[in-house]
Amino acid sequence: MRLYEFESKKILSSYSIPVPKGRVVTSSQEARIFAQEVAGPIALKAQVLATGRGKVGGVRFAESPQEAEQVAQEMLKAEIQGYAVKSLLVEERLDIEQELYVGCTYDEVKKTPLIICSSLGGVDINEVSRKHPEKIHKSSVSSFMGLQPYKAWELVQNLDLPAKLPWAAQAILLKLWGFFSQFDAILAEINPLVLTSRGELAALDAHIEIEDDALFRQKERLGRFQIEEREDKARPPTPFEIEAAQIDKADYRGVAGRVIQFDGNLGLLIGAGGGSLTTFDAVLRYGGKPANYCEVGGNAPVSKICKLAKLVLSKPGVEGIAVITNVYSNSRVDFVARGLIKAMVELGMDPKSYPVLFRSAGAFEEEGYAILRKYGVRYYDRSTSMDEAAGLAVEMIKKGS
């Protein structure tokens, strides 16, 4: 779960990491009042979870209270990468001499926590590592020992900071690590960490991601900062996706219901995990136009498959449905077949004439095929590959039967 900038700063400042003086506002009047109090230039920053908001008008500046009001009004009407801007973080504008980067994350190859710092802050750290790899300084640390002071001290030597400031940078890095490990974060970066003309360090922006799978034990800690668990996707979910998520939530059994909306005409129940990735790719490569992505696996019960099939079959623009899964180990083929048939019957669709295709195999396949035969659904067993089945589904939609 990614945190908003204002949430990140609230937490970091509780660890005594210095942040610019600021306030969250939801109206242009509040922005004006803040500018009056500061009596100097301010920055206005849209509170959205979009990356690279600076490039699309998500960060603006104002010299006077009047300008602040005007800019805030414009920003609060804007949309950034599909997200409506509901609030702004207004901050005193700092006089910046140097931009640095400090961050904690996990190294998936070494399988350890990783501490990163760079004297080139303010830009995407991945870009820095491509263009100026010599400016990136990393250190793996033991997840039992954590970041030790000597290691933090060693790392900040690379930041080209004037006298005395390395001590401050070391303290910030250690506090950032403290936060990272206590909150089950998987990413905590201060970018940029700025050196101001007054010779002080401050966290100008921060990106924090908390491990979704650790929210069960972080609820209380996050609650102290008024942060609640929420869905976190690259774009806001559509009503179709919300409905699918509700079906999934209503019954914990089975990996089924991870649904993503597309705008094609071929409804899909595919699965699961790697199987759905394989099938979806094959459908696209054969020129098919998926209406959705929806996984079915993990031994989902008939009722859940039925509800998902109904949702997909009722989606406007859907002209046919394909159920394509890998050979199941821990799911039952007959459950999937039953769920599909039940959905079609309840929607008053005739499986004999409606474009529908089924490819699955494994446990209880004979029982599943028997049901499909009875209702006249064309089905394929393991002798037809998932790729072939995807190709046949695309053909089926083209022919309309």
Binding site: E108, K111, D184, D213, A234, S276, T278, R285, S329
Partner: protein, 300 residues
């Protein structure tokens, strides 16, 4: 005798009284795997298909010598269960639990390294040495399992559990058997990544070719390519990378926790490129794995 599993494999199932664990314990026993004990705190004295249940791994070990453990417990207890197995001298821990916090996984792996223990998983559906031993539900009930997995000389490593079975079933139908099939797990950090297992397979006389089922996200394939190139790896590898459409949808998560792409990072096009540069045969369609493997086996 392939890798990781052998005639001397003796298994403890941690969390044996759970719904899924009861089912796969039956499947393992039917397959001939020696499941010597189970552990569920508070359930000592019970039996699961004849397998005695203990309160602690330590007691189970004292009464039945075991060298392998399956961890199938809820996410909040998985780290402790894994520590327990490592601490009492288990050599191979196969972690099935899904959704374990990353920080816990890092500690599990670090402790295992200190003690010289191998972890496979988390978020693994197990592994199988066809015709000999299996851990977990791979392949399902016995008759189904025997259709999907057949003995032979191809090692199959997969980030997906379901596609491990599908891939082996595809090979088996075309007369190509497997020396070992392992679901390494779908998480961003796993105890045994492709690049951790390749050195073992290189020394395994039974394995003639290797198949990798890859997915978007993480640097696992990139690191594997680097390893293959730098060590001039001696065995031929065929890879299929599922989910190339994910490249066009940065920030969206599909299926496994690790399947997420940010720009070039984790993108399948990058993976395919570096793997090909390393001499790995990367096929575009899953079913093309068969022809690619046949070609390698005919050459050797």
């Amino acid at each position: 005798m392939a890798i990781l599993l052998s005639d001397s494999t003796r298994v403890i199932v941690q969390g044996i009284t759970g719904r899924e664990a009861v089912t796969f314990t039956k499947g393992m026993l039917d397959y001939g795997t020696r499941v010597v004990a189970g552990v569920t705190p508070g359930k000592e004295g019970h039996r699961v298909y004849g397998v005695p249940v203990y309160n602690c791994v330590e007691t189970a070990m004292r009464n039945h010598e075991a060298n392998t453990s399956i961890v199938s417990v809820p996410p909040g207890f998985a780290k402790d269960a894994t520590f327990e197995a490592i601490d009492v001298g288990i050599e191979l821990v196969n972690v099935f639990t899904e959704r374990i916090p990353r920080g816990d996984v890092a500690q599990m792996i670090e402790f295992a390294r200190q003690k010289g223990v191998r972890i496979v998983g988390p978020n693994s559906l197990g592994m199988i040495s066809p015709g000999r031993v299996k851990l977990g539900p791979a392949g399902g009930p016995l008759s189904e399992c025997n259709r999907a997995f057949t003995p032979g000389s191809v090692a199959v490593l997969s980030r997906s559990g379901g596609m491990l079975t599908e891939t082996c079933s595809l090979l088996s139908q075309n007369g190509i058997g497997q020396s070992i099939a392992i679901n390494i797990g779908g998480d961003p950090i796993v105890g045994s990544a492709f690049f951790d297992l390749l050195p073992l397979l290189e020394d395994d006389p039974e394995t003639k070719a290797i198949v990798l089922f890859c997915e978007p996200g993480t640097f696992q394939e990139e690191e594997t390519a680097r390893f293959v190139k730098e060590t001039s790896y001696s065995k031929r590898i065929v890879a299929f990378i599922a989910g190339s459409f994910v490249d066009t949808m940065p920030g969206m998560r599909f299926g496994h926790a690790a399947v997420i792409v940010h720009g070039e990072s984790g993108a399948t096009r990058t993976k395919a490129k570096v793997m090909r540069e390393a001499g790995i045969v990367v096929v575009d369609f899953h079913s093309e794995i068969v022809a690619a493997v046949k070609k390698i086996l005919n050459q050797s």
